[in-house]
Symmetry: C2
Subunit: 190 residues, 2 copies
């Protein structure tokens, strides 16, 4: 990938996140990325292809950051909770304006099947990741969707409220759900 290409996608990511996809025109992106309009259309055939590239970048960045945060702790139960510590750090960033996939789905999902599909795939991949962490912790299958829903809710709550406290609230709820699920498994085994 050319250096111009990565700079375009990184700049588009920032601008789209800060102000919304439809609110940022190609000329503004061109100026912010420091590239000519010709170069822009030489790297990408259309705006929607830039949007898809931004979504892929967001997915990679989210997955890498999450997995790095999870790997920092060893205990399977703590690994599930590390998801919410990761959220807390994210919510605290100045640039945080909600989950980029929820936002792009809300903005374009009804009009762009590609965007809707990619948002769906991203969320499925997150749920599957939570599922593997949960099963390694010995939890029953129903725990993963519960924790995923908590994480989703924390993201939208933090975005709209403009505060980061939803991460801690979701984390303490997750503790209760995890211990209940592990306890149910343990008492059933006994």
């Amino acid at each position: 990938m050319s250096e111009a290409r990565t700079r375009i996608v990184a700049t588009a990511d920032e601008l789209y996140n800060a102000r919304g996809i439809q609110a940022v025109g190609m000329d503004e992106l061109r100026a912010a990325a420091g590239v000519s309009l010709k170069k822009l259309y030489q790297e990408f055939p259309s705006k929607s292809s830039i949007v898809m590239a931004v979504l892929e970048r967001r997915h990679r960045s989210w997955a890498e950051g999450l997995e790095a945060a999870v790997r920092q702790v060893a205990e399977p139960r703590e690994r599930l909770l590390a998801i919410f510590d990761y959220l807390a750090r994210w919510f605290g960033e100045d640039s945080f304006r909600g989950c980029g996939f929820i936002n792009s789905f809300a903005e374009l999902g009804a009009v762009s099947p590609e965007v809707a599909q990619y948002a769906r795939e991203h969320k499925v991949s997150f749920q599957e990741y939570v599922g593997t962490l949960a099963s390694r912790a010995g939890a029953p299958a129903y725990l993963a969707p519960q924790l995923s829903i908590l994480a989703e809710g924390a993201q939208t709550t933090a975005a709209i409220a403009g505060t980061a406290e939803a991460a801690q609230q979701a984390r303490s709820a997750a503790e209760v759900l995890i211990d209940a699920a592990l306890g149910a498994r343990a008492s059933r085994a006994a």
Copy 2:
């Protein structure tokens, strides 16, 4: 409120929900509502005033539907769970495309302070309502934000996944959280 005015807002609500606010132009709204463009601008000074009227309508409709669902059961604990039964019915509707406030916030929140503010107020009012239900059930204060986050997460998960199952998953998580919170209160009192 004139009959034309209510029809305009109701039509705008449907169209904005189905395809997004920015994707629906004034002329399409005019045609769907069966009014003249002159009438439209005689009832509302601008598109953004229609958007605000739609948000108010959504807020009323949501609050009335939720309170009606809650009143159908008597037990305080069951009333908290009735929130998620209400969500389940909502998610099952063909027209469901996610929470209109989350969507409008994602689409316009960064560019329209009014929309951002109204979305915030709507979510605060929901959390307060959950708070009164929770306190009547004798639950500690931390339960309400936890249940609110679950409800938010169920809405976005159901919207993006396109299925209604998130409501049941959130409901069973809510049961665990409620019983844990009530049990903590009870055991502390004992």
